[in-house]
């Protein structure tokens, strides 16, 4: 069963002069075995939305269900939902609290009742899957570099092996090797029929790795579909604050000028289209 978000709205500081509506009537479904990317401009409501998925924020209006369980103020249900939906925060410092990497990563599994060899295996597997060197086990996570801290934050959620992995801007601060490791991790999770929900402002990355893309603008759903459907929609309709990846923008212009046969965000694909287009023209 999936995560179903139905007609979700949320307003910060309701009734105050600083009232801000973060989400307006958002609906979508996140299936297991899929990588769903949520993209949108700064302040479009992405982080507010994902914090709803494990009940950190409870819906003000609308409904969310996780595998049939409703996200609402029922402690026993919320405990099940939080075991099922693991959220990696936007800033590792918001999440990390322990004095050693080992304590940090084992905290989740210990809370769910794991111990001994099984616990050790969970910690090691989580570290390996995100390229975190085992020699760092005794290190203080706060003394690590930005990229390593991010890996600790991801490993600590991964260690509990949640059914749905939700990551808020996980690539910020990662080098190219880190991003590659992260992408292969997301693919592995999806291949194991786990759900992956990934917030990013990098539309190009989203187009490259996702099964589905949800585009948020000013708190509303501006597009929802496969990467191809999303790319087509975005080339047709301008969304304030959302910049098209350069290769996609170029392919769209070339198509309008009749110089290529379709749109794409892949440089090698566009190169092929351009050379084919030239052959036809001459």
């Amino acid at each position: 069963m999936p995560i179903i978000v139905n007609d979700l709205s949320f307003t910060y500081n309701a009734g105050m002069p600083t009232e801000t509506t973060a989400l307006r009537n958002v609906s979508f479904t996140a299936e297991r075995g899929e990588i769903l990317s949520i993209v949108g401009h700064t302040g479009s409501g992405k982080s507010t939305l994902v914090q709803h998925l494990n009940g950190l924020i409870l819906p003000q209006s609308g409904k969310i269900t996780v595998d049939g369980l409703s996200v609402r103020k029922v402690p026993s249900d919320l405990r099940k939902i939080r075991k099922s939906v693991g959220l990696v925060f936007q800033y590792p410092e918001q999440q990390i609290f322990a004095e050693t990497v080992s304590d940090e990563i084992s905290f989740g599994p210990i809370n769910w009742g794991y111990s001994g060899r099984e616990l050790d295996k969970m910690v090691f597997d989580a570290m390996d899957s995100i390229g975190l060197d085992r020699s760092l086990l005794r290190s203080n996570p706060f003394s690590l570099s930005g990229g390593q801290k991010r890996r600790v934050a991801i490993a600590s959620v991964l260690a509990s092996d949640p059914e749905y992995l939700v990551l808020d801007e996980p690539t910020a601060g990662l080098d190219a090797a880190g991003i590659r490791e992260l992408v292969s991790l997301l693919n592995e999770r999806a291949a194991k029929a786990k759900g992956v929900i990934h917030v990013t402002h990098d539309l190009e990355l989203a187009l490259r790795i996702s099964t589905k893309i949800l585009v948020l603008a000013e708190g509303s759903v501006a597009a929802f579909g496969t990467p191809s459907e999303t790319a087509e929609m975005l080339c047709e309709k301008y969304i304030d604050g959302l910049v098209l990846p350069e290769v996609l923008a170029l392919s769209s212009e070339l198509m309008k000028a009749g110089m290529v046969s379709g749109i794409t965000w892949e440089p090698t694909q566009l190169l092929k289209m351009i050379t084919e287009g030239r052959r036809v023209a001459f």
């Binding site: 982080s47 410092e93 690590l144 080098d175 402002h201 212009e253 050379t275």
Partner: protein, 276 residues
């Protein structure tokens, strides 16, 4: 004109107290007044530590760091240097101190002991150029991650620094806000401010005067930004960097002689060349 300042590192080393490994190993670096330097390197190569030496948050465990002629180990160095050299952190939460946007922006100038009329003026300018003026009365907690990053920059611009240190300061911004942020940095550079910018994104470095590449706390490459960017994908891949897709396409089109080699790596320039 806001003349930037010069910084020099001479055999500078740094080792964190709890660590066995040095984060920076004998760095020699001369940063000229008004120069824009981009610092690249893999995670854990010492980039953030370098920035902390440059604004005297840390002092070298060996070697010397001179900021505007002053040794950072001198007792009054932090006070003098913090009025001239401002650091925008990777995580804006590390530097936001107040609960309301305009109060946070006023924190720096207030600490410099400026008259209140000038503080108000500086806060207003900083919030207008960072696009946060409308949000001046908002609680910081209501801002998104990207807006917090802009607030961190506003707080720093309000002290009108002579040197701006950016630690992946654009990592949480969407592409549109990134362009805006980058043009703010360009405007600061044009005023003469010295810029030292740490990043993983090659599309942010084309305006830098010099690129330095760090590996395990040492400078392993330095040269011009265009020279750095002209390296092949394979070479960049080996040092853990990814060329932007549009640059990959541009290079291939140049190789096929479909566009001129002087064409910039952006959709508009390539389109113009292809239609020529």
């Amino acid at each position: 004109m806001n003349f930037g300042i010069q910084i020099s590192l001479n055999g500078a080393e740094y080792r964190y107290p709890e660590s066995v490994k040095k984060s920076l190993c004998g760095l020699d670096l001369e940063i000229r007044a008004g120069e824009w330097i981009a610092v690249l390197g893999p995670n854990g190569s010492g980039k953030s530590t370098l920035l902390k030496l440059l604004n005297a948050l840390l002092v070298p465990t060996q070697g010397i760091c001179l900021v505007d002629g002053q040794d950072t180990t001198e007792t009054d160095a932090p006070v003098n240097i913090h009025a001239k050299v401002a650091l925008v952190f990777q995580n804006p939460e590390d530097q936001i101190v107040a609960s309301v946007v305009e109060e946070d922006t006023a924190f720096g100038p207030e600490n410099l002991g400026l008259p209140s009329a000038e503080i108000r003026e500086r806060v207003k300018n900083a919030l207008i150029i960072t696009g946060l003026w409308e949000k001046r009365k908002s609680p910081v907690s209501s801002l998104s991650g990207g807006q917090k990053q802009r607030l961190a920059l506003a707080g720093v611009l309000a002290i009108t620094p002579k040197c701006l240190l950016l630690d992946e300061a654009m990592s949480m911004l969407d592409p549109a806000s990134r362009r805006d942020f980058l043009s703010l940095v360009k405007a600061e550079h044009e005023k003469g401010t010295t810029i030292v910018q740490v990043t993983h994104s090659l599309d942010e470095i084309s305006d830098a005067d010099r690129v330095i590449f760090l590996t395990d706390g040492k400078i392993t490459w330095q040269g011009g930004a265009q020279e750095f960017l002209s390296q092949s994908c394979d070479t960049l891949g080996k040092i853990n960097l990814e060329k932007p897709s549009i640059s990959i396409l541009r290079d291939e089109l140049v190789k096929l002689k479909l566009i001129h080699e002087s064409t910039n790596a952006d959709a508009r320039s390539i389109m113009k060349e292809l239609c020529r």
